[in-house]
């Protein structure tokens, strides 16, 4: 059922229809005005679903929860019995994802599924997740800079179903087999697109290719300068106002560092960690090679733009700009890299 139309006034119905065959997550505005992905209940139509604008949180936590039980252990008859935990592998649809976040998921896939070792917990969840992305038509706000990172407002990487806002409807396109299969649940809500609607969709794609309208950019020359700026005092100056609060890492669609601890009651738990926290990279000898804020900040920016390019061929930053919007000290990754000395 590729290439169909979903009228905007049928979205609530569509979410309910999807809800009959999977768990549905969609961006919902919470009590304090933040838009975040929430699991919609049985009656999906009552949630305050927001499909315009960029959600304040990326959908990262659905695939990579902040707190995750890995295994439990207990002593039985003098022996230790270890029981692996069962990750949440229900069929899920994440609806209303933005292209930057979808790319973010595909990059997380590279981390957890690519390479020699597969993270079985991530895999169990990831296989059952279908991503419905709504393409943007230009930047959503002044913080967006996806074209500088290799993305585009209507990029399709990481998405199973693409949706394009063509006025009073969404033009719906099943990209992957998984996406096409998911659309079968919406037979009752989807219609045939008109030529005009298809034309509008093509225009969105065209504008996206040329990256129209983005004022926030990082130049390739600046990123190239990072090759020789590792030892520069510049990073200490940039980080002087950093509070090491970790908000940037928690809200980044691709930050994936974690810690594993044994907690009371015989539970081994994986939790998000942040390279900005004080004891990150602290050795048991007491030495911390990255103890100073300038070193931590430099490490984060290099990880997003240099090391990742060297290692996986793509920037890890997706240009969503959330770290800039959120930072309590007004730190700006785009400015910092553009002015690198």
């Amino acid at each position: 059922m590729s290439k169909s139309i979903l009228k905007k006034d049928k979205v609530a119905e569509a979410l309910s229809a999807l809800g009959k065959v999977s768990v549905v997550y969609a961006p919902v505005k919470n009590k304090r005005g933040l838009v975040e992905y929430k699991e919609l209940g049985k009656d999906a139509s009552t949630a305050d679903v927001r499909l315009d604008g960029k959600p304040d949180t990326p959908p990262k936590a659905i695939l990579f929860p902040q707190t995750e039980l890995l295994l439990t252990y207990k002593k039985e008859d003098g022996e230790f019995v270890v029981t692996p935990a069962k990750p949440d592998d229900r069929e899920k649809v994440i609806f209303g994802v933005k292209p930057c976040d979808a790319i973010g998921i595909s990059l997380m896939d590279k981390v957890f599924l690519g390479g020699k070792f597969t993270d079985s917990y991530y895999k169990a969840r990831r296989e059952k997740v279908t991503i419905f992305t709504i393409a943007c038509d230009g930047p959503l706000d002044s913080y967006c800079f996806c074209p500088s990172t290799g993305g585009r407002p209507a990029a399709t990487d990481g998405s199973d179903v693409m949706m394009y806002d063509v006025g009073d409807s969404y033009f719906v396109d099943g990209i992957t087999d998984k996406g096409k299969k998911a659309l079968e649940a919406l037979k009752g809500q989807l219609g045939k697109p008109t030529a005009e609607q298809e034309k509008r969709k093509e225009e969105i794609v065209k504008r996206s290719e040329s990256a129209e309208g983005f004022t926030r950019k990082i130049s390739d020359e600046a990123i190239a300068k990072m090759d020789t700026s590792f030892d520069s005092k510049y990073w200490d100056d940039v980080a002087r106002r950093c509070l090491s609060c970790g908000a940037c890492t928690y809200y980044c669609p691709t930050c994936h560092c974690f810690d594993i601890n044994d907690e009371k009651g015989g539970e081994r738990v994986r939790t998000w960690d942040s390279c900005q926290f004080a004891i990150f990279t602290m050795h048991t000898s007491g030495h911390n090679p990255r103890a100073i804020r300038g070193q931590k900040l430099r490490n984060r920016y290099y990880h997003k733009f240099k090391y990742s390019k060297d290692n996986i061929g793509r920037y890890l930053c997706v240009g969503c700009g959330r770290c800039i919007a959120l930072c309590p000290a007004s730190l700006d990754i785009t400015k910092a890299i553009n002015e690198v000395k």
Binding site: E68, L69, T72, T83, A85, K86, P87, D88, K264, G265, G266, E267
Partner: protein, 162 residues
Amino acid sequence: MSGSQAAGKGAEAIPCAEGEQFEPKIVAFLCNWCSYAGADLAGVSRLQYPTNIRIVRVMCSGRISPMLVLRALKDGADGVLVSGCHPGDCHYLKGNLYTRRNLQLLRSMIEFMGIEPDRFQMSWVSASEGGKFADVVKTTVEKVRKLGPNKKFTTEKREGGE
């Protein structure tokens, strides 16, 4: 209440049959010189008091930081009692006065956040007040029993676990 009265994860669930009373677990921090001695006196005098309390002897009630009270509640205690010398009688002169300052506001903040304030009790019991100690324990246990098991500080079974 039927079923198990698990008081926090990590603690063993004590199953109790239908109709049995909930037995709260109280952790009592007693200062060595007054309250602990008072508890000893209660014992020696054969005064009956509930066995729900688990005593931790510290040299002075001033040593009790709010962190220890919170830790006890987090680890599954249904209630916490801190008991020291009467003001003016502290073996270390002023330790209990610091206790009073430090822990007063802990209780009001616990109450403000919607936790039952009666889960945290304090008393001044001197070495000669065996009777008062027994009364303090009885009062504490009854107050906490009425509140039921401590659920707010303890996690339910985790997602993914058995």
